[in-house]
Symmetry: C2
Subunit: 233 residues, 2 copies
C-alpha cells in the first residue's frame, strides 16, 4: 500500500533498529534522507543502508538547521508536496530520522503537512538518552522521580535552574553552551552524577570522564548529558 | 561469554524489539521472567516467546509490586544471588522488562546488586510513551519545549501542578488516580490535547476518545496519558 512512513532509526548502532523498522525499510520504493548541511554525510543513512532494497531511490534533501518553525516552513512545504506526489503515484515513501521521530525531530514538521493528506505511518526509535543509559548501565529515573528531558537552547541560568530543581535530567542540544554547562555542573558538584557522551554507538563515540579537562572547542552536535543524582558513577 | 543481560522488550508488539534484543534472546541459556502477582501471565514473556531457543530454561520470579526499595530488597537480594550463581556456572542469563529497562523498571534494583559482581549488559527498549506517540502520529515534544515524564504516585494536586506548569508531559502510573486525573484534565480543558491509551500494541489495547464518559472502575495498570498542548487532536 502506498504510504508515507517516518522511521526512527535510533542513535547510531544499526542493531538498535526495531524489527518493524527493518521490515518497513525493506519495502520502501523511495527514501527521503535529511541533510542538515548542504554537503556532508547523512548519519541516518549510514544506520539503515544495510537494510534497503537494491533498486530503492534515495533522495537526499536539505533541511536548514534552524530553530524557528516559520523559517523552516518553505523547505518543509516543498518537500511535503514532492512526497505527496510520489504517494499519489503509488509509491511507498520513507523518511529516516535519528533517535525517536516524535522527540525534537524535523519529521514532526513533515507530519504536520502530510498527516491528513496521505496515509502516514510513524515507527518509534530508541532515543539517544535511552541507549546511553543502558549502554553505560546507568538508570535514567527510578521509583517516583520524574524525568526531565530538556533541550539546552536557552540561557545557562535557565539550564542551571532545571538542573537544580530536578533529580533525573537529560540535557539535549548541549553543544552550543557546552563549556558553560560543564562549569555549572562542576560548581554544583554534579560531575560524579553526570554521564557525558558524544556520538553514542558510532565509530567516533566519546564517553567523557568526569575528571576530563573539557577543553573541547568543538563538541559534537550529537552530545547528550544524563544526570541522575541518586546514582554515583 | 557468560553474562547477565537486561533486555528492554518494548511496550507489547514483538516487532518493536530491537535487532540487538532478538540476537541476545536467541543466545540465552536461562531467562528470568518477572511476575508482579504470584499467579498471572507475564506480559514480557508473551512479547519474546517467539524468539527464544527451544531448550532455554525459563525461571518465573515473583517481584512484589511495592514502591519502597527497602521492602523490595529481600526479594531482589535472593534473586540476585541466584543469578550470580548461574553466571559463575558459565550460563548466559537474561532478564526481560517491559518498555525501557532504565526507566522505572524493577531491573534497576537487580542492576544495583549485580553490576560490580558479574558482567552485566543492558539493552534499551522502546518506551510505551514513544510507541504510543508514533502509533497515533502525535509528537511528544518539539523545538525548545522540554518533555516532563511524571510517574503519578503522589497527590492529585502535585499532578495538577505538573500539568499546568509544562506543555509536553507524559503521565505514567495513572491507574491509581485515573478518575481524578481525567476530571482535572477536563477542568483545565486539556482533553483535546491528551492521548489516553491502555495496553498499547497488545490484544487488549484501548485508545480512549476525549469525549468518553470514563466510568472505568478498573483501568489497566498499563495506561499512559500523553499531553502536548501545542498539538490539537
Amino acid at each position: 500500500m502506498s504510504e508515507f512512513i517516518g522511521i526512527g532509526v535510533g542513535p547510531g548502532d544499526p542493531e538498535l533498529l526495531t524489527l518493524k523498522a527493518v521490515k518497513a525499510l525493506q519495502q520502501l520504493d523511495i527514501l527521503i534522507v535529511p541533510y542538515g548541511r548542504l554537503k556532508g554525510e547523512s548519519e541516518a543513512l549510514k544506520i539503515v543502508e544495510g537494510y534497503l532494497k537494491k533498486d530503492i531511490h534515495i533522495l537526499p534533501k536539505h533541511f536548514p538547521m534552524v530553530q524557528d518553525e516559520a523559517e523552516l516552513s518553505p523547505a518543509i512545504e516543498t518537500i511535503s508536496l514532492e512526497i505527496k506526489g510520489y504517494i499519489e503515484q503509488g509509491h511507498r515513501v520513507g523518511f529516516i530520522t535519528i533517535g525517536d521521530p516524535m522527540l525534537y525531530s524535523t519529521y514532526i514538521y513533515l507530519l504536520k503537512y502530510l498527516l491528513y493528506q496521505v496515509p502516514v505511518k510513524t515507527l518509534p526509535g530508541i532515543a539517544s538518552y535511552s541507549a546511553i543509559a543502558s549502554g553505560l548501565n546507568r538508570p535514567l529515573a527510578e521509583g517516583n522521580t520524574p524525568l526531565f528531558i530538556y533541550p539546552c537552547n536557552g540561557k545557562i541560568e535557565a539550564i542551571e535552574k532545571v538542573v537544580l530543581d530536578h533529580d533525573s535530567i537529560v540535557l539535549m542540544k548541549v553543544y552550543k553552551q557546552f563549556d558553560a554547562i560543564i562549569k555549572m555542573l562542576r560548581t554544583h558538584d554534579l560531575m560524579p552524577f553526570s554521564l557525558i557522551v558524544s556520538n553514542y554507538g558510532k565509530e567516533n563515540q566519546v564517553i567523557y570522564h568526569p575528571d576530563d579537562l573539557f577543553t573541547h572547542e568543538k563538541i559534537s552536535y550529537f552530545t547528550t548529558i544524563i544526570i541522575n543524582k541518586g546514582w554515583q558513577l
